[in-house]
Structure formats: C-alpha cells, structure tokens
C-alpha cells in the first residue's frame, strides 16, 4: 500500500515495459526535489474533475448523507451519473466532494483495508470513528507532503460500542471532527443556513430525507454545478442502505421568475 501511495497518478515503469524518468526508485523517493536532472515531481496543485455538495445529518436512530450525482470538469458538468459513496465494512459509508479521481483512489485504499479485515475471519469490524481517524491521518499525511487528496469527505455510520449514530467530516488539510449536521462544497454556504433553521436531533428518517431534498433543491436552483439527480445513504444499527438515484421535482415557472425585474416593483425583485 505504501507503494500505491507514492505511485498515485503514476504507474510503475514495469507496467509500461520500459524505464522512464531515469532511476525509478530515486524518482519516487526524493520528495519534492528534482530527480536526477529529470522533470520535477508533479503534485496536485488544483483539483481537475470535481464534485460539489454532500450533506449529512443525524436523525433519531441513524445518519443520512445525500449527494447529487454530478462531476464537473472545470465549469462543465462533464459526468452526470457518478456515484459518490463508498461503503467500508458493514456500517460505515463515506461520501466525497472535491477531486473525483482522488476519491476513486481512496475508495480502492479503503476497500483494500476492508479486504484485509475480512481475511482475518474474526468477526470484528471497524467503528466508523476508527475509519474516520484512519482517513484523517491519511489526509493529513498527504497534505504534509504538499500533495493533498483534494476532497472533503463526510462519513456516516453506526457506532456499535456506544450504540449511536456517527457523522464525521474530513478535509484536504486533515481537519476532522464529528458533528450533528455537516455540508461540504457549495452546500457549506447554501445548505447550512437551512439546516440551522430546521434541524432537530429527534427528526425521523423521512423528515431528515425531506430536509436534505429541500437543501438540494436550493442548491439545484443556485449552484451552477448542481444536479437534480440525487442519491443518499442511510446508516442505522441494521447497517447501510444506499438508495437508487432519484430525480428531485423542480419548478421553474414561478411567476416571479418569469417576470422581467424591470417590470417588478423594487421590493419584489427575486434578489
């Protein structure tokens, strides 16, 4: 796995059948320095293919986390049906916003960990908080190499030892914390005020889902990279349930939106 870490975004020379960039080992080991007069090592300096909002909240008896299914290339909505969830073990699910390729890499990394756990055949499974700690260290390690995983992750799960729902946040700096409700991407601006107003810890699952749908509607109307197709995962004591992709019903023919602002009284402007 250590090799995979260093090789992220590059393939071992053996895979190509020839050696590139001179001495391979020196190349991968020399950190940010220039390797033996060759090209400098390239780090992630900005995200390329990105996904936007993920929102998660705890309700009475579980955690729900929702995302849309869009992935953008710059300002173009390039991929419209990407799943942004990764289930780890039997009671944790990770949802990502930010660089999609980094998320795909991390998915593979987490699945490998999952397999190593499974091979033990000891019936033990990791707590969501343990997986959050692992991911947090992974993110912090990469940011310390100045080559971060450009994601904000929201983790939902069920803590078996304390028998309560778990919701946690991890970002590209390695910031980690648990919270009652969390939003990433554009949702950290648009959805948080809605959640602050309407969130209650004793919500039912249906109420929680309805609130998240409301948030994603607001995002669909105002976030130009937002999509109306959403997916959600629910974590309860019974495990993880990942929903099918569904489309939110949206409406664009509000009278106020159809009337030119020049014909409206100043106070009735849609702004």
């Amino acid at each position: 796995m250590e090799d995979c870490l260093r090789l992220r975004g590059r393939r071992a020379p053996d895979n190509y059948g020839y050696s590139y960039h001179g001495d391979y080992n020196q190349h991968v080991l020399c950190g940010s320095a220039v390797s033996s007069g060759q090209e400098p090592i390239k780090h992630t300096t900005r995200p390329i293919t990105t996904s936007s909002t993920v929102i998660g909240l705890k309700f009475n008896g579980g955690t729900i986390v929702m995302s849309d299914t869009g992935v953008c290339y710059g300002n173009m909505l390039r991929f419209k049906s990407c799943e942004r969830f990764c289930q780890v073990g039997d009671r944790t699910v990770v949802a990502a916003s930010g660089e999609y390729s980094d998320f795909q890499y991390l998915t593979r990394d987490l699945k490998e960990m999952d397999t190593r756990d499974w091979v033990q055949e000891d019936g033990c499974s990791r707590e969501p908080s343990s997986i959050a700690a692992y991911l947090g260290r992974t993110f912090y390690g990469q940011r310390s190499r100045l080559d971060p995983y450009w994601n904000q992750m929201i983790m939902a799960g069920w803590q078996k030892t304390s028998n309560e729902p778990y919701l946690g946040y991890i970002d590209l700096y390695g910031t980690t914390f648990p919270e009652d409700y969390i939003a990433s991407g554009f949702g950290s601006y648009l959805a948080i005020p809605l959640l602050r107003k309407e969130y209650r810890p004793d919500m039912t699952e249906d109420e929680a889902k309805a609130l998240l749908q409301k948030c994603f509607m607001a995002l669909f109307y105002r976030d130009c990279t937002g999509l109306s197709t959403v997916q959600y995962a629910v974590a309860t004591s019974a495990g993880i349930r990942l929903s099918d992709v569904s489309t939110l019903t949206h409406k664009w023919d509000y009278k106020l939106w159809l009337t030119p602002t020049s014909q409206l009284p100043v106070s009735a402007s849609s702004w």
């Binding site: 940011r143 700096y173 390695g174 910031t175 914390f177 601006y189």
Partner: protein, 244 residues
C-alpha cells in the same frame, strides 16, 4: 519591450551597466501551489493559582468565514494533572495531541509513573522544535499542577519557544484576553494594588474574559470548556458563549 530580458545575457549586461535589478517586463510563469496551512480560529488561555490552575478554550471551529463546527474541542488531558490547549490549525492540533499522548504513554511504560507537568512542557517544546522547518501551525498552552502542587502554566510559540508564566492566552482572541488578564491578574503599573483573586473569583473572571472575547472576535464563541486543575484532579465543565 516584451522579451527584452528573455535571454540571460541581456539581463546580465543590463545589470552590469546599471548596477541594479530591472523590473521584470514579461509575465513570470504562473505558479499554482497548495498552501498547507489554515487558521481555524479559537481562543485558549490559562491562569495559575497557588494550589490550582484554571484553563479555558472555546469550541468553535472556523474555516474562512464559515463555522465548520460549534462543538469541537481544543483540549486534551495528557496526565492526571496536566492538560494541553491549542489554538491555530485544527488538523495540526489533532496530530500534535495524538503524538503527545503516544509519547506520554511510552514514558509511562518506561518509567512506571506519569511525567510531571514540567516534563510534559519540555516534551511539547521538543516536539514543536523537531518540526522547526515545517512547523506545526499551533499555539499551545500547557497547564497543570507541578511536583510541589502549585499551579503551572506554560506558553509556547509555534516552533517551541516556551516559558512558565502566571497566565497566558493564545489564538485569535488572545489580544482581547491578554489585556484583561494583565489588568486583573498581572496588575501591571496600576495606581492602586488590589488583593489577589481567590479561586472562585478567578474562575468567574475567566468565564467573563472568554465571554468578552466572544463578543468581539468572530472566531471565538459557541461554548467554552473550563478546566480547573487542583489537588482533586482535572475538573472539566462547559459554559455557553455567544453563538452568532
């Protein structure tokens, strides 16, 4: 003008004849770089008493103009009579506190007793200086009871300079807190010297001080964790602060 200094030769000739560095006339290549640091805000401070120490930290976690969390701790209890409090970057705080806990556990296994507060204080300084050239963006306070049972407070900078002082504050509200502590506890250059505060008054003062910081510093607020460390051990409680 474009490209006048594109060859090193021309630049060298220019510098020889004029003896100064010319203004660049072509755009330098754009450099994108990941900035590994951010300040997540928050205020921590501590005051030492004769047989006790009081420490406080707010629980707000911010990123830019957003509040990420209203209830994230900045404190870790390291031994039965020592707590570390950290302002600055949360990710680095988590890392530093984890490392401190590991090292203290190793110390306990090696020596079969827990380290004294001044040993913990020196350890933190060494950890911080170990990363002198890629520092932890953290501003720390170590607080506890020393081997004589007296209140001990240590203040640090990000790279490990530290000293034992009667009171210290760190973080985004540090300036607001320091001036009040100077006035009420340091009693520096005052016309009338008042009696020193007793324990209850000191705790009340500390609560008022962090509430005052919460009024004026946007990165401080929500809740404050209060640690009172005395002969009974580490006593933790929580008070409400302004939530806007």
């Amino acid at each position: 003008m474009m490209g006048e200094w594109s060859s090193g030769e021309g630049l060298q000739q220019h510098m020889q004849s004029h003896g100064s560095v010319p203004r660049p006339v072509s755009n330098p290549p754009m450099e994108h770089r990941f900035m590994p640091y951010q300040n997540n805000g928050g205020t921590v401070f501590a005051v030492a008493g004769p047989t006790y120490a009081v420490a406080m930290a707010d629980t707000r976690l911010s990123s830019g103009m957003r509040i990420l969390s209203r209830n994230t701790t900045k404190c870790t209890q390291l031994t039965s009579k020592c707590v570390v409090l950290t302002g600055g970057m949360q990710a680095e705080m988590v890392e530093l506190h984890k490392r401190m806990k590991i090292l203290i556990t190793q110390y306990e296994h090696a020596h079969r007793r827990e380290p004294s507060v001044n040993a913990v204080a020196q350890l933190l300084s060494t950890r911080l200086y170990f990363k002198r050239f890629f520092p932890y963006y953290t501003f720390n306070v170590v607080v506890g009871l020393d081997e004589e049972g007296k209140g001990a407070v240590y203040g640090y900078d990000a790279i490990g300079s530290f000293e034992r002082i009667p009171y210290v504050s760190q973080g985004t509200g540090a300036e607001l807190v320091t001036s009040v502590l100077d006035n009420q506890i340091g009693k520096t250059n005052q016309t009338k010297q008042l009696e020193p505060l007793d324990k209850t008054d000191l705790i009340d003062l500390a609560k008022d001080v962090i509430a005052a910081a919460g009024e004026r510093d946007i990165y401080t607020g929500d809740y404050a964790e209060v640690y009172v460390i005395d002969e009974t051990g580490v006593n933790k409680s929580k008070v409400d602060l302004r939530k806007e």
